[in-house]
């Protein structure tokens, strides 16, 4: 109640009472009653009225204006206003008369004036409350719309991430076809892994959040499939703090990053590439880090940026603005120490002149923001 009467939106309402009370005071000071009388009575009559008017907000909330019963509501409001104004005027007049400062002579006129003032004040209050209510409704609708848009965006990103790259499927099936003759058991295992991976991404795409253990299982399945394809060119090192396994993350957050690492790191390099996946608790943060080697003299990788932007967006939306995604690319080319202008690769075919590059993506979430 206290909170309702001191609501921030009521400030203009109370301010409006200052000139209104002044008007009443001036009106009452007339007819030789004196300014002192006018101000005293104006304040005693007007200020409680302000509180009563503020209280009408509850009525407005209970009886919102709806087109189909507009007249009924207005009639009820008018009746209620009259009743409140009448009761307050009567109470005021009686109290005043008992306290004897009521002026002698014909007082019916004064009571009538007070009633009209009170009625006008009540109508003003009602109008004010309905206006505020309408503005709040608009703001609420806008918030809901924003929320819906954010949710739709997240759903779209998840659906996008769940869409398995068709080349991954084609290459996986090619591996199955290759294995089926000489190593049927391995072919069977590959089929199972492919099915598990597809089932996993589809299921994850429908969820709002998944435990880290689920996401890691999906990533491991993906890497196992790619390891069959690339042989010893893809090496995986994993270091996971068990304390993080149960924490919640946006689904399919790591998967696209791992896919990128394989696409640009392993596919583009003739030498074996190590992919390092770390999930650790550092002082105040939970850290997921994905690091892969790449050949800096290989074809420049196009368009990794948009995927990272989407991942950063999803991370912040899920954990709040303190969660960060950082990217770091370090390249040491074959000619170590030579100026940048000489990084052009010169090589004898087959001689393996790759420099070493590392690409690191780090996701950092404050511990207290973990879910």
């Amino acid at each position: 109640m206290r909170r309702a009467l001191l609501d921030r939106t009521l400030l203009p309402y109370y301010l409006a009472w200052i000139p209104m009370t002044a008007l009443v005071a001036v009106e009452l000071s007339g007819a030789g009653r004196g300014a002192g009388f006018g101000v005293t009575v104006g304040l005693l009559f007007g200020l409680p009225l302000a509180a009563i008017g503020a209280g009408l907000r509850f009525m407005c909330r209970a009886l919102p204006l709806r087109r189909h019963r507009l007249l009924n509501t207005l009639a009820a409001m008018l009746a209620a206003s009259s009743l409140v104004a009448g009761l307050w005027t009567a109470l005021f007049a009686l109290t005043l008369r008992a306290a004897r400062p009521w002026p002698a002579g014909p007082t019916g006129g004064l009571a009538g004036t007070l009633f009209l003032v009170a009625l006008a004040a009540m109508v003003f209050s009602l109008l004010y409350h309905y206006l505020v209510e309408a503005a709040e409704q608009v703001a609420r609708a806008r918030r809901a719309e924003d929320e819906a848009r954010v949710q739709a965006g997240e759903a779209r990103l998840r659906a996008l991430a769940a869409q398995v790259n068709p080349h991954f499927l084609y290459n996986g099936l090619n591996s199955v076809a290759a294995l089926i003759g000489a190593e049927p058991a391995a072919a069977r295992e590959m089929v199972t892994r492919l099915a598990e991976f597809f089932r996993g991404t589809t299921a994850a795409g429908r969820k709002e959040a998944v435990p880290l253990s689920d996401e890691l299982a999906l990533v491991r399945g993906y890497l196992a499939i790619e390891q069959v394809r690339f042989g010893d060119r893809l090496r995986v090192v994993e270091r996971v703090d068990e304390a993080l396994l149960a924490t919640s993350w946006p689904p399919l957050l790591l998967q696209p990053l791992v896919e990128n690492a394989v696409k640009y790191g392993v596919s583009g390099s003739a030498e074996p590439v190590t992919l390092e996946l770390v999930a650790a608790l550092e002082v105040n943060y939970a850290v997921l880090r994905l690091r892969n080697g790449f050949d800096p003299e290989g074809r420049p990788s196009p368009g990794t940026g948009t995927g990272l932007v989407a991942t950063r967006e999803r991370l912040e939306r899920f954990f709040g603005p303190r969660a960060t995604l950082t990217v770091e690319a370090a390249a040491v080319t074959a000619g170590v120490g030579t100026p940048a202008a000489e990084t052009a690769g010169v090589g004898t075919p087959g001689a393996g002149t790759a420099g070493a590059g590392t690409f690191t993506v780090t996701l950092r979430v404050p511990r207290e923001d973990l879910r």
Binding site: H167, A178, F230, S267, R299, P302, P339, A344, G347, A351
Partner: protein, 250 residues
């Protein structure tokens, strides 16, 4: 039919399992003999030069050099090419238009047989023009991001950002990058067409410069300018070249 092997073939793919599978499928064709397998573009260029195969099964996306760059550098006089790829349907029309055959992963024995029939019919015809095929398959990369040059067995990969200028020398172009230069067997007009016109300007008939390496342009005489480049070299600038520079620099 006496199917004595008369087509020698090279398999170029960076995935060992994929190479093994293709080799296995090829054994069904008695007239085709696999003479080598390569796992990256450098190895492919060398093997094509040394083994002189009639046919190469060529992956497009590979480490070091991609399939197109391999063909650009290879001695390709009488080389038949079958691309092995996972490209989407729209790109496949580009293959059809260029009379080069392709195999999709996962590979199918029937499709391989059809491709080999086409190879047998066209053997010895040489390669079609590859530039527009490259462009059709890489719509996101309409211009070269790097230039590959071969000198005997050595392959040089020059990122376009490092090129200072390119000069025509008879049938060759001399490409300056850093403090070095490399000769490439290509006409300057053809190379100009492959480079990003927002960065490379033909300043006269025999020279292209990288706008990012341009320091200043000096007027030497009436209608005769000289471009000074970041490495101190100067290039003559013709009237048309000067106009092109002004258009680009606004």
């Amino acid at each position: 039919m006496t199917a004595s092997p008369n087509i020698t073939a090279l398999i170029v793919d960076d995935e060992p399992l994929a190479r093994r599978y293709l080799a296995e499928l090829v054994t069904a064709h008695a007239d085709v003999r696999i003479v080598g397998e390569c796992a990256d573009g450098f190895a492919a260029v060398r093997a094509i030069g040394e083994l002189k195969p009639d046919l190469v099964f060529l992956d497009i996306q590979m480490p070091k050099l991609d399939g197109f760059e391999v063909l650009e550098l290879a001695d390709r006089a009488a080389l038949a090419v079958v691309f092995v790829t996972a490209f989407e349907q729209y790109a496949l029309r580009a293959f059809d238009a260029h009379a080069v055959d392709y195999l999709l992963k996962p590979l199918s024995p029937e499709r391989l047989a059809a491709a080999l029939d086409k190879v047998r019919r066209n053997l010895g015809r040489g390669l079609p023009e590859l530039d527009s095929l490259r462009r059709a398959l890489r719509p996101e990369e309409p211009f070269l991001s790097r230039v590959v040059v071969r000198d005997g067995a050595a392959v040089t990969v020059i990122p376009c950002a490092e090129i200072t200028c390119i000069r025509a020398e008879d049938d060759y172009v001399s490409i300056c990058f850093g403090k070095k230069s490399a000769l490439k067997h290509q006409t300057i007009a053809s190379l100009e067409g492959q480079l990003d016109p927002a960065r490379f300007v033909r300043v006269h008939r025999g020279a292209i410069l990288n706008i990012e390496k341009l320091v200043r342009v000096e007027l030497v005489a009436r209608d005769h300018w000289e471009a000074v480049l970041s490495d101190g070299q100067t290039l003559r600038v013709s009237r048309a070249g000067h106009q092109r520079l002004r258009d680009l620099l606004g």
